[in-house]
Chain length 193, copies 2
């Protein structure tokens, strides 16, 4: 989504996670954690962690800035990106991992704790509903990395049945982002049924 | 610790968390989350989130860089800072919050899940023990924000009784950082007894 928003051309190699291509020795030599995404830099080294990758690409391609253009703006946007990550995206990941049957054979689940992540998400939604009264995007007047992280979290929570319900400002924000061309890549499987 | 390493002068106002000074309406007007630390920028706005604050200060005071000096270096350091945060520091926070009696009246604890964070920390320690065979610091040859985050996580885990045990490389790294003047501010209470 970040790459599409930037309008940059980054060669992409898709991997089959179901076949465990990210757990091979060859891949672990590039990222010992065996996780995607992974970016090969021009110097031949590799960087993992989605936000670190986005930050690097922003430095290489400063046009259409998504991390801000002044130190103060970058500080605020970084703060909001972290809030979206720690209070929406990661709780949505944990909620799914620890409550959905799909993950039962894959990880040790703690269903009660997993379910408690819904409260974190709902509380954040209540807060965002207030924040979005006075501005169209998470940080302010323009679309940033904080919207990308937040939108991904909202979409993932929706997969697990945690909707934004009757929060009108949040819905307007979500629908606006969903209408962007870049949002087409934000799909999750499996769908909770 | 970051401010001491940078050798910069940032006016500090201490707050009594025990008296709930971070939960007052006045403070929430600055940070709706009611959390410290919080930095007032020169434009009169406020930024929370420790790492966002450090990143801002790094931009304002580029000497003695702790986030790297080239895009590639910054990408690697940002990745390692995130790894230290997500795999040592936050698990140490969660372990304490969910297993220690001190927090029992303060949050809803999920002790089994809390205890499982020890495995995350131990696995990360095993990995770091290997990584630190070939370099003195988390990212490479120089001290960075990744060392600060990692060291804070290691110290906090130690408070809860999760030690680095007989991992020699990790111990050498920890002791080296502990000997730095800046490490004196890394203290946690309550001590697990």
């Amino acid at each position: 989504m970040f790459i599409l928003e930037k309008g940059i051309d980054v060669p992409i190699q898709e991997m089959s996670l179901q076949n465990g291509e990210h757990k091979t020795e060859e891949f672990r030599a590039k990222n010992p954690l065996g996780q995607v995404p992974l970016l090969e830099l021009t110097d031949g080294t590799y960087v993992s962690e989605s936000v670190s990758i986005c930050r690097y690409l922003e430095e290489c391609y400063p046009e259409k800035p998504l991390f801000g253009t002044t130190p103060a703006e970058r500080a605020h946007i970084d703060m909001w990106q972290r809030r979206m990550e720690l209070r929406v995206f990661i709780p949505a990941v944990e909620y799914g991992h620890h409550t959905h049957p799909f993950f039962a054979p894959r990880i040790k689940q703690f269903p009660d704790w997993g379910a408690s992540n819904r409260e974190v998400i709902e509380a954040t939604y209540d807060w965002l509903e207030q924040e979005l009264r006075s501005r169209p995007f998470i940080y302010g007047e323009s679309f940033t990395i904080a919207d990308i992280t937040g939108f991904n979290g909202v979409q993932l929570a929706e997969v697990w049945g945690i909707g934004i319900q009757n929060r009108g400002n949040l819905a307007k924000w979500r629908d606006g982002i969903n209408a962007r061309e870049s949002a087409r890549v934000v799909r999750y499987a499996p769908r909770a049924s």
